[in-house]
């Protein structure tokens, strides 16, 4: 994902939006919809749900622009809203996990040893491995490797110190390695 270069342009857009310039709202949406979409999709994994969340994120961002204090870049602020929305969404959607065999019976596994959702390509396996990470770990992997954010920027987005981000990223990478081995069927 190409890096967004924040700066005076964003400040100008925010100030214009606050003055009621509709074109400024449009420009903010045009600039940030793609990276925000990518973050949401990587965190959620489902394009339909991601689209709902994207709408909510921009709704909240536009609503909150009047209170934006310029203490962070606009993109870190919007990413923060996006991460929070994804977290809230997953929390709301959380349902107790029931093993599939409990529902379909033990013959199910014997009928299809591959499993219906087994990733077909290495790319699928990689995406599945990232999605299988606990949410906090997924956040740091997505922000670091997909969005190319620095520790400082991740710290602003996630609201925790850079040292915590570094430790979490270590744990996330170890877990990612485990997930890939598991998905690819390595011992």
């Amino acid at each position: 994902m190409a890096r967004i270069v924040p700066g005076d342009r964003d400040k100008g857009l925010i100030l214009a939006a606050r003055r009621g310039d509709e074109e400024a709202f449009r420009e903010i949406y045009r600039t940030y919809r793609e990276p925000v979409w990518s973050v949401i999709l990587s965190l959620i994994g489902d394009p339909l749900q991601a689209q709902d969340i994207l709408q909510t994120v921009f709704f909240k961002a536009f609503r909150g622009l009047a209170g934006f204090r310029f203490r962070s870049a606009l993109f870190t602020w919007i990413y923060r809203i996006a991460c929070n929305e994804c977290r809230n969404h997953l929390r709301r959607r959380a349902v107790p996990a029931v093993p599939l065999e409990d529902i379909l019976g033990s013959r199910y596994e014997a009928d299809d040893e591959q499993g219906p959702d087994r990733p077909r390509t290495r790319t699928d396996a990689l995406k599945s491995a990232v999605l299988a990470l606990p949410f906090k770990m997924r956040e740091v992997v997505v922000l670091r490797y997909q969005e190319d954010l620095s520790y400082e920027e991740m710290s602003r987005v996630l609201g925790c110190p850079p040292g915590t981000i570094a430790s979490r990223l270590n744990r996330a990478l170890v877990e990612l390695e485990s997930q890939i081995r598991r998905i690819e069927g390595c011992p």
Binding site: D21, W37, D52, Q55, N88, R92, G163, I180
Partner: protein, 227 residues
Amino acid sequence: MSLSCRILRRGFVPYLEGELRPGRAGRLERHLAGCGECRTLIERVRAGHEAGRRFGRLSADLPPRFPAFEELAAGRPARRGLRPAVAVPALVSVAAALAAILVISGGDSPLRSRDSAAASRDVKADGAFTPLAIREFATNSRNRIVTEGYVHNVYYDKEERTLHIKLAEGPRDTEPFVICEIRDASGLTIPREGSRIRVYGTARFDAQPGRGWHEVNPVMEIAVLNR
């Protein structure tokens, strides 16, 4: 794990990326030479880091198209059959509304305020949302509305997994009423029963077997007028 392990491990990823300062990199290498646990760990981090880099190089699966502002402003419906957390048209119309509201109110958006300041403002000033009394829902044809009433009760619908507020015109009225459906409660003030509130959202009629009522769904904002 010693304290030095814990501190030095924070530098694993910068080290693998070649971003660690020479002094710290040297200290880490000396530590790795004598600490088997950290050597094992950094190899796993290295494998995860490579996977992360491969993940970062994947092209993003973009949606077929992003909603365009122009289309949305024209009122074209959002994706049909999907849960409209905040409908796409609402996104843009809210942006447009915000533009108007910010100008009208000098930056103090009623969409933002949840206090008594909201109570003193005439809803008609809110422009983009049509003021609508609860008894007028039956004949309403407007989409975005703002209505006021007393909270009869607040309950969680387990089936729909949404929070519902039953709103009536008078503090002791049960009819007419409107059901305000909250799909996303984050950032919203959930009012107490008996309080008077103003609700911004989309007016709908919910027709289901055995019931039929008017709704504000989804609720976009709630202003508590008196507790």
